[in-house]
């Protein structure tokens, strides 16, 4: 293993490592445009030139393999001079349109110019004008050839990661320009990633175009709920300028590096899935009666739904459960937990409904058919089915509350009129079982809907309790490989909606069975203590990249 010295610090790395990788290990950042750890090495931008002792010329750090005894200087006068001159070349034909460029603020040309450039312009020649300004090259991406520095990261991405090869660099010399292959469009399912890896403003996001300046954005780490892969993401949102996107808070999602899940990438479906956060949300509890419904009755599904205050809505839900309790009819109630819920919410629901009340919880919910691919996207479009299976698998206790294999689904039992009440979390029964079944359910059972969005089911339900979406709550999701990953609350739930934990805990309190744990971290500790699959996991051990379930193989979905 070669040992080398970078800026006076010694580091030992495996043979074949390049200088830039060794420097990254030491926390020394060498400027880069074309180098990206997830792509092959091109070595064409030259900004990473460093001084290597005993070498006649400066070497590019991204493509020079380390050797034993190598002494590298990343901050010597010679290196800094070279960096400045490389920048001068790169900026020779670069337009000065930072004010209208969406990349401004997160642009490496701007950053490195301020760090290493700051030269007096001496370019007197005519700038080479590329063809006309920004043009869409696909459904999600805009290309501005003038701004391109020809680092070829995007070309390598389409060749190596998406394997679709839509992009190429055409012509030669200072006429070289990036473009899509004639007759094609950049329309692969991962196209949005080229915007992330573009170090300048050549490739920008059509969805984010002109929406906000990047310095307005706040960022919060999370996990994409679009499918069971659980790609790590950052939620970029703006709370103090509601006029920017007509009141929407989330501006965009960006992938967050996780070597075990998505590396640097995410799919476009997930990337633009954020729009539901601020659209068609439920913002107030609704009920079919303007006060409490008469006990033990099911209001007509055709009656008008009225807004309720939270206190009254929760009281009504608690009273219906209590009534069933005193009449010994809890066996005729059912709960449909959802794989959209966090592990914490599922656990609290299990504790309250299954363990304390003895209400049947059915984790086997029909799936909407969807397709995945062999890279990141999975066919299962819910983020926590694995976690739901782990939490609800082990309570097949003497009451037999988890229906075995071929027993009828709860929803079917409800439609058959075997149930008196049904609590549905997040599911849209209409989409899953069809309009007719959902209508029958709503006519025969008292239907409580706990969910974030206005769906056909929420319109059928007798009592609607609006809950928070993933960006508005703390918790964990368990991805398809059994990796438990944290989601962090970016902002408060829409006023009028409440977190799922809060709703279940409030219901428990009203039923006189308050939980000792309320915050997500406390609930997760309780999960770790009582669910074998989560043994030994805490928010601290999960860290930024999550951790696998203790019994990752044992749990099957």
């Amino acid at each position: 293993m070669p040992t080398l010295t970078i800026d006076g610090q010694q580091v030992t790395v495996p043979p074949g490592t390049t200088i830039i990788q060794a420097a990254d290990q030491l926390g020394i950042t060498i400027p880069r445009y074309c180098y990206h750890p997830g792509l092959s090495i091109a070595g064409n931008c030259r900004i990473c030139l460093v001084e290597v002792e005993k070498a006649p010329k400066l070497q590019i750090a991204c493509y020079t393999p380390v050797a034993d005894g190598m002494v590298v200087h990343t901050g010597s006068d010679k290196t800094l001079k070279a960096r400045q001159e490389v920048l001068e070349f790169l900026l020779a034909n670069h337009p000065l349109d930072c004010p209208v460029c969406d990349q401004a603020g997160e642009c490496e040309l701007q950053n490195y110019y301020m760090d290493h450039g700051r030269y007096e312009a001496r370019f007197l020649e005519q700038k080479v004008k590329k063809s006309k300004k920004a043009t869409p090259i696909g459904p999600t991406v805009m290309l501005d050839q003038e701004r391109c520095i020809l680092c070829s990261r995007c070309v390598r991405f389409t060749d190596e990661i998406s394997k679709t090869s839509e992009l190429g660099i055409f012509h030669r010399g200072d006429h070289a320009e990036l473009d899509v292959v004639p007759g094609r469009a950049l329309d692969n399912a991962y196209a949005g990633n080229v915007v992330d890896i573009c170090p300048v403003g050549a490739l920008t996001d059509r969805d984010f175009r002109f929406k906000a300046r990047v310095w307005y954005l706040s960022s919060s780490p999370s996990v994409c709920p679009g499918c069971s892969r659980g790609c790590n993401i950052e939620i970029h949102y703006v709370l103090d300028r509601p006029y920017l996107a007509d009141g929407a808070r989330v501006m965009r999602l960006k992938p967050r590096y996780n070597p075990a899940v998505n590396q640097w990438w995410m799919c476009d479906e997930g990337r633009y899935g954020y729009k539901a956060i601020d659209r068609a949300r439920l913002v107030q509890p609704m009920g079919r009666t303007q006060g409490l419904s008469p006990q033990g009755t099911v209001p007509s599904a055709d009656s008008v739904s009225h807004p309720l205050v939270w206190d009254l809505a929760m009281t009504e839900a608690a009273q219906h459960l209590q009534e069933a309790q005193t009449r010994n009819q809890l066996g005729q109630w059912g709960v449909l937990p959802s794989p959209q819920m966090t592990n914490e919410e599922l656990f609290l629901a299990r504790q309250l409904f299954q363990e304390r009340l003895g209400v049947a919880c059915d984790g086997r919910v029909a799936e909407r058919p969807a397709t995945g691919d062999n890279f990141l996207m999975t066919a299962d479009k819910s983020p926590n089915r694995r976690g739901m299976a782990a939490i609800f698998s082990e309570t097949t206790d003497q009451k037999g509350t988890v229906p075995q294999g071929d027993s009828p689904l709860l929803a079917e039992r409800a439609a058959a009129g075997e149930l008196k009440g049904l609590i549905v979390f997040d599911h849209d029964l209409v989409a899953l079982y069809g309009e007719a079944v959902a209508r029958t359910v709503a006519q025969r059972v008292f239907l409580i809907y706990v969910g974030s969005h206005d769906t056909a089911t929420s319109r059928l339900a007798h009592l609607v309790l609006p809950s928070a979406v993933y960006a508005e709550k703390d918790g964990t999701f368990t991805n398809v490989d059994g990796r438990v990953q944290r989601i962090v609350k970016a902002f408060e739930p829409l006023s009028g909606a409440r977190g799922g934990l809060e709703i279940v805990a409030d219901l428990a309190r009203r039923l006189g069975a308050a939980f000792p744990h309320t915050t997500a971290a406390e609930v997760f500790r309780a999960i770790g203590a009582s669910v074998p699959a989560f043994q030994g996991l805490t928010y601290e051990t999960l860290g930024a990249h999550g951790a696998p379930l203790a019994t990752a193989e044992a749990v099957t979905v």
Binding site: A134, P242, V309
Partner: protein, 245 residues
Amino acid sequence: MIRKRELTFWERMYLPEIIRGVALTSRHFVRNLAIHTLHAVGLAKHRSAAVTYQYPEQPRPLAPRLRTRHRLTLREDGTPRCVACMMCETVCPARCITIVAGEHPDPNIEKYPTRFDIDLGVCIYCGYCVEACPEDAIRMDTQILDIAAYSRAEMKLDLHELLNPSLRKPVKACSLPFPHRCAVRGDPHAAGPEQPLHGPIFIGGDVTRAAGMEDQAQQARQIEAPHPVPLPSGEREKGEGRGNG
């Protein structure tokens, strides 16, 4: 602590100081009267005397660099020079500027504001927006100082008033030749959401702000605290145990 100066004997005599003050006032009166008289007959033009401006009939002349009501400058085609880079919005310490960007029909310009409001009730006239502008698109040189309104909403300048400084609310007709969020034409988004748009919003969970909801809260309060759910024997320990774990 400020110590009060002891009056001298001369000052305590009272009358001499009174006479001194009246003399000072009289000197200015006589001087102004004399110089204005000389001005009237065309003499001593280089000497100035105190004047009273009969505002608002006679406005006082302003220094050309005085920061006054804002305006947005125009391109030759009548669209704003502003490219909606939001530098002014970013630098504004009072946060009185609101910009929403749109796609300019000319691809070489790319970006322009479809909404540009300045809330003069909030503006502190620091002039940072003019300093920050890379396009010379905003200036504070209209020499308009008398900004009065009957409501806070009227203190806001929109695109119409900013592009045409002679306009002031209520603007009756819109003649801006480019797409924009226009309150004059009845665009509901022209003023934009002050709060996120999500239908009726009730702050907090239990605060009753909608009409008729006080009764519901009352009704809910009157309901007795529910009895604890009797758990089957042996279940309580199990349930609690899990919970406490």
